[in-house]
């Protein structure tokens, strides 16, 4: 039903609006007083609600950081949970202002959906989760297996490619939501559950006995996950893009949630530009000069957000790996704020 209403909104928006793309997203958000942010239907570490309905996760923190930059209040976000197959329609129809929902950046998504990726919040790759009792040590031993997958993801195509190029047979069973997929895997309908590795770790926590399941070592694809905005609003595109860059640059400069106030008083020219005590970089983005300190006070720098949600400080215990900063052995690299 959700899907039908989304498509209906899209048809209305496309068919009746006289103006082409609304180039006014920032103004719309400011007038509304809320940022509408598309997230997952519950993926621990990235976006999931607790029992009181508070959303947490790395993708959620990106939304909160944008809200903090605009309103100086990270709570002014309306989270819209979306299934994998509904997410793009929700963005196209204007139901959400930004999609921050572990979405893989690919060429076709960049060119044909009328949307743009603004950066990479998490470098991921596709992997396989199996029961330990199967005694499988490598994905290459999965010939003739039944594989459960969530529909509407790049995962389905990677899976077909991988088994085909390795001359292996398999049976795919595709479900509408992550929960249904995991339930079918747990019930024994499939031997394997495949998805982005981060998601495998997150979903494993939901299983009855997480220790009975193991993520195989093979990573069969590149899955750079990042936020998306509608095409045609460059101001909004810049703001969302630079919000993530600000979190990354803050980590590189050693700005943390704790020391942000002290750092803001610094005389270093680099820090003065970042904190807006020199120049008006924030205003060129359409927000205030102190946008970076607003963001860091709200969600911390990228490293803090990573540790809190998916890394050492979380249940997921995912290593930084590729997501470490470029000068510490990873590939996370943000252009400078100047």
């Amino acid at each position: 039903m959700k899907r039908a209403s989304l498509v209906f909104t899209l048809v209305l928006a496309a068919g009746l609006s006289s103006e082409a793309a609304s180039a006014q997203t920032l103004k719309t958000v400011q007038d509304r007083g809320l940022l509408s942010c598309g997230v997952s239907q519950g993926l621990p570490g990235f976006s999931s609600p607790d029992d009181k309905g508070n959303w947490t996760g790395l993708d959620v923190d990106v939304c909160r950081a944008i809200a903090a930059a605009i309103f100086n209040d990270p709570t002014k976000v309306k989270f819209v949970p979306l299934s994998a197959k509904d997410r793009f329609t929700a963005l196209q129809s204007g139901e959400i202002d930004v999609l921050s929902r572990n979405t893989t950046w690919t060429l076709s998504r960049d060119t044909s959906l009328g949307a743009n990726f603004t950066g990479v919040t998490y470098y991921d790759g596709q992997g396989f989760l199996v029961k330990k009792s199967l005694k499988v040590n490598s994905a290459l031993e999965l010939n003739s297996a039944s594989v459960c997958v969530q529909t509407g993801t790049t995962t389905e195509q990677n899976l077909a490619d991988y088994f085909k190029s390795n001359n292996m047979k398999y049976e795919v069973i595709a479900f509408g939501t992550a929960d249904e997929t995991v339930k079918a895997y747990e019930s024994g309908r499939c031997d394997v559950f495949t998805s982005d590795v981060s998601q495998l770790y997150a979903e494993r926590l939901k299983l009855a006995n997480p220790a009975d399941h193991v993520v195989l070592p093979e990573v069969i694809s590149k899955e750079p996950l990042g936020p998306m905005v509608r095409h045609g609003d460059d101001q909004w595109f810049d703001l969302v893009k630079w919000t993530l860059f600000a979190m990354l640059d803050a980590e590189e400069l050693g700005i943390t949630q704790k020391n942000v106030d002290d750092m803001a008083k610094s005389d270093k020219p680099e820090l003065k530009r970042v904190f807006g005590t020199d120049g008006n970089l924030g205003e060129t983005l359409g927000v205030t000069k102190d946008w970076v300190s607003r963001i860091i006070k709200a969600v911390g720098n990228y490293g803090e957000a990573f540790d809190r949600n998916v890394g050492a400080g979380s249940k997921l215990q995912i290593a930084r790996g590729l997501n470490q900063l470029w000068n510490k052995g990873g590939i996370q690299y943000a252009p400078p704020i100047r």
Partner: protein
């Protein structure tokens, strides 16, 4: 008895004017033309505007995507399909899966529905209570819930392939579905089919002959032993002359799953059971109402002719009840077809799942894909309605009504 003189039939021009313009005559006709023209214009503007806006937002539009490679696999395909086929082929794979589950679901729903209705009307106390209980239980629980029950509680509880239930070492039941030996055609296959067809025709001719004899002279001729003789004898003869018609490929456990043989996937089984039992509960009530709508006197008249209760129902009551049953029965058939789109919840690859789901999110062409899908469901529903109307028309004609 005097007969009123009939008024002469209205002139053609007058009837046309009335049909097109109603009471307002030709002026009304002009207004209607104008109204339709405005509707068409609004529709055209919406389409053009949508096109322009989609282009401005750089959302790809048009139907060119149908020729692109799909790149994903589907667990059940009635026509050959691999990941390197096009989205157009995915569409047909999904459509056939939807039609398959709908047609088989409609068949079982009708059979169960009629049986439950007859059971509920039966003088047998226990049978009628069980049937009544079935209807009340099934129709008052949400369909999605029943679907998940069959899939996650019943079928998923079957053992894994390694401990699968085996029948004669050839048929295997496990949580991966039902695996049966796959028949492969041999040189003797074509003569076998021809022999079988001849036998069927002969049996039908015999049956019709016996019916004619029954109606004309009241003689009861036992033809079934001869018919059975034909049906078994001729194919057997063909096998003896031309050799085995079929060999069977026996499935065996290889790795994680069975290889060889044909497989019925549990998603299909769960969906078929859920759809047919659910719709059967509604059909049972419709059939019951239809049967009760036939006047009691018809039943008594039948009984007084010495017919058995079953024959009275079959020959007298149900044909009359069909006229009442048919319109709401059509509704149930349409509902079943549309409800089959719940398939996505249990991973059955129906049209909505593979086309309006996977294909949509891979191409992002929501307007086109949802448009095609809605058109297809509309078409399926209209065809179903047309078939049922034709059937209703035949019943009406045969009863002279």
């Amino acid at each position: 008895m005097s007969i009123e003189p009939r008024s002469p039939p209205p002139q053609f021009a007058f009837r046309l004017k009335r049909a097109l313009g109603g009471r307002a005559g030709w002026g009304g006709f002009a207004l209607q033309i104008l109204f339709v023209a405005v509707l068409v214009w609004i529709g055209y503007e919406i389409v053009e505007n949508a096109k322009a806006n989609l282009q401005a937002q750089r959302i790809t539009s048009g139907f060119g995507f149908l020729n692109n490679t799909a790149g994903f696999d589907v667990s059940q395909n009635l026509i050959p399909y691999t990941g390197s086929d096009t989205y157009a082929r995915v569409f047909f794979v999904g459509l056939l899966n939807t039609l398959l589950v709908s047609i088989i679901g409609i068949f079982f729903a009708t059979v169960i529905g009629f049986l439950v209705a007859l059971g509920r009307l039966s003088p047998n106390w226990l049978l009628s209570r069980i049937s009544g209980g079935y209807v009340e239980l099934i129709r008052n629980l949400p369909l999605l819930f029943q679907l998940l029950f069959w899939y996650l509680a019943v079928l998923a509880a079957l053992p894994n392939p390694r401990q699968g239930i085996s029948l004669l070492g050839a048929v295997f039941l496990s949580n991966r579905g039902l695996v049966i030996p796959r028949p492969n055609g041999e040189p003797g296959f074509e003569p076998f089919v021809v022999a079988l067809l001849i036998a069927i025709v002969a049996a039908v001719v015999l049956w019709r002959y016996s019916r004619r004899q029954l109606f004309q002279s009241g003689k009861v001729i036992k033809v079934w032993p001869y018919a059975l003789g034909f049906l078994i004898g001729l194919p057997l003869l063909s096998t003896l002359i031309f050799g085995k018609p079929l060999t069977f490929e026996i499935p065996e456990l290889k790795g994680f799953n069975f290889s060889g043989g044909s497989r019925v996937i549990p998603e299909f089984v769960a969906l078929t059971i859920a759809l047919s039992t659910y719709t059967a509960a509604f059909i049972a009530e419709i059939v019951r109402a239809g049967i009760l709508s036939v006047h009691r006197g018809q039943m008594e008249a039948g009984s007084s002719l010495g017919l058995q209760r079953g024959s009275v129902l079959r020959l007298i009551v149900i044909p009359q009840a069909m006229r009442v049953i048919l319109p709401p029965l059509t509704n149930q058939y349409l509902n079943l077809t549309k409800n089959s789109s719940l398939a996505v919840a249990i991973g059955y690859p129906d049209l909505v799942s593979v086309f309006a789901g996977t294909t949509l999110s891979q191409t992002g062409q929501a307007i086109e894909i949802i448009g095609i899908t809605m058109g297809v469901y509309l078409l399926i529903s209209l065809v179903t309605s047309a078939i049922m109307s034709f059937y209703g028309w035949r019943i009406g004609r045969s009863m002279g009504g």
